[in-house]
């Protein structure tokens, strides 16, 4: 083999590599333009979606905020007054403040469950919103409602499993928060 042949071969190889590099760069360029196009399409789609969302927001009736707030205030307030009256009554009977409020809580939970069972609590909730969801009666409602609904699936996979579908997250994050606050309290001591 002659040395110039080798050079020729090397040249060929070099040329081939250059060509490969070029096509690679071209492809890279293509990919880039493709990506740019895709991104443009995506932003266009997003713009269209935003535009449509605006139209929808303009046309959708707004909740009657003032009316809802008044209902929530009155109903929530009345439930709390009822709780206070019950607590005061038990305190009047000679129970300690802590025991009396525990009794009041139990009675309110019973009432919330009872009226859920009668099918009345959801009618109240429709008007009162947060006013009947936030007090402890609402918590009772959120446990009894799914328990009632899923009774047909049996006591294990129905009532037992579904009872906490709504209240479960409240319990989980309530406990997590309590844990964190406890930790902070413990560190500060």
């Amino acid at each position: 083999m002659h040395i110039s042949d080798l050079g020729g071969q090397n040249k060929k190889r070099l040329n081939y590599k250059i060509a490969q590099h070029r096509t690679y760069n071209l492809k890279k360029g293509d990919n880039m333009t493709n990506e740019i196009n895709k991104k443009q399409e995506q932003t266009q789609e997003k713009m269209q979606q935003l535009e449509y969302q605006n139209k929808v927001d303009n046309i959708t009736p707004k909740p009657p905020l003032f009316k809802n707030i008044c209902w929530a205030f009155v109903v929530g307030g009345l439930i709390c007054i009822l709780g206070q009256l019950i607590a005061d009554y038990f305190e009047g009977l000679g129970l300690s403040k802590k025991d009396a409020s525990a009794y009041a809580t139990a009675i309110l939970v019973f009432l919330g469950s009872f009226f859920t069972g009668l099918g009345l609590y959801d009618d109240l909730g429709k008007r009162a919103g947060a006013g009947s969801i936030v007090p402890i009666t609402g918590f009772a409602n959120s446990i009894v409602a799914p328990a009632m609904e899923f009774k047909r699936e049996g006591y294990v996979f129905g009532v037992g499993a579904k009872m906490f579908v709504i209240a479960g997250p409240v319990l989980v994050y309530g406990m997590v928060t309590a844990f964190i606050i406890g930790l902070i309290y413990w560190i500060r001591q």
Binding site: Y52, T60, G119, D122, G125, G138, N141, I166
Partner: protein, 334 residues
């Protein structure tokens, strides 16, 4: 002969005939605006049965049997049934069909199921495969509510744009021969998604799908909206209806004069259903009662009827996906 016309439509050579319809509803629908247009109004949403799902099966079974009986046929005369509902795995339809013992193809088009069934029936009849097909759809407020949203007794406040799922079922008998209005054309819809994610805003989610199909139908058939006495959509509610009018106006088509949504025709203001009705039965009970009677008495002669379905699932919206929607159309002419 190719019966396809335009991009998405078919024109029937021998338009099949809607020879009979029947419907059944719950008490709330019975007290609404369409009193007197129902074959049976149940005293409550259970009708003496053990569960809402069983009740929904009963609804569908009743509607199909009644529709067949009304045109003096036997169940054995029915070559095939197209039916569907909203529950997972078409639960109520399957139990209804277990009792009816007819050849059956289950459909899931959410609230577009009724029109999807009619469209397929018409194609098979015009194709000469069958002589008599039943298309049916049902929905049940409580059963749907517990599957898609919250337990019924939970004290939640519904936003004003929310719609109320109809308890009811409607069935149509579509035949090769007989008397009645004919299904002359059909337009099969595409899935359209404008990125709406709120499952309480189904009207707004479905409106672009309805617009897409109406627009395509008019293009394919080279018709103008005034060709029809009325254009009906299935269950867009008041918000969705206004959006359809607005979106079509932007495309240069005005349908405000002869357009109504079935979801706005069922409940009265005092019934507190907010933006109107929804569910498979929304379009089904209005078509099988009010609209069919109007067609039979020639008060309406040509209508375009659209079923609109939001195809989300409980999993899809919990995973923050948007709501894909579809609309199918059939034109019915007397």
């Amino acid at each position: 002969m190719n019966k396809k016309q335009g991009m998405q439509s078919v024109v029937f050579a021998n338009p099949p005939i809607i020879t009979s319809t029947a419907n059944i509803v719950g008490p709330m629908e019975g007290e609404g605006l369409l009193q007197g247009y129902f074959d049976y109004i149940m005293p409550d949403n259970l009708n003496g049965l053990a569960s809402w799902e069983q009740c929904e099966s009963y609804l569908m079974e009743y509607a199909i049997k009644k529709a067949v009986a009304k045109e003096n046929s036997e169940m054995e005369d029915i070559d095939c049934v197209f039916a569907g509902d909203l529950l997972n795995q078409l639960m109520s339809t399957h139990f209804a069909m277990k009792n009816l013992k007819r050849p059956f193809l289950g459909l899931y088009g959410a609230c577009s199921t009724m029109v999807e069934g009619m469209l397929l029936s018409a194609i098979l009849l015009d194709g000469g495969f069958f002589n008599k097909i039943v298309a049916a759809a049902s929905s049940h407020h409580d059963a749907a509510e517990r599957q898609y949203r919250f337990p019924n007794e939970l004290g939640v406040q519904r936003p004003p744009g929310a719609q109320w799922t109809v308890t009811g079922s409607g069935a149509v008998v579509v035949s090769k021969l007989g008397n009645g209005p004919r299904i002359t054309t059909a337009t099969i819809g595409k899935v359209v998604d404008y990125g709406i994610k709120d499952p309480n805003a189904m009207g707004p989610a479905m409106a672009p799908a309805a617009v897409d199909t109406i627009w395509q139908h008019l293009q394919d058939t080279e018709r103008v909206p005034t060709y029809y006495d009325m254009i009906f959509t299935g269950d867009l509610g008041s918000v969705g209806r206004d959006l359809v009018i607005q979106l079509l106006q932007e495309k240069g088509v005005d349908i405000s004069a002869n357009y109504q949504d079935c979801g706005c025709m069922i409940y009265s203001e005092e019934q507190d259903a907010h933006a109107g009705a929804s569910g498979c039965a929304s379009s089904a009970i209005v078509l099988c009662g009010f609209i069919y009677k109007r067609l039979m008495t020639s008060k309406l002669k040509k209508i375009l009827f659209l079923g609109t379905g939001s195809l989300h699932s409980t999993t899809s919206y919990q995973q923050k996906e948007s709501i894909p929607c579809i609309a199918h159309a059939v034109s019915i002419e007397m």
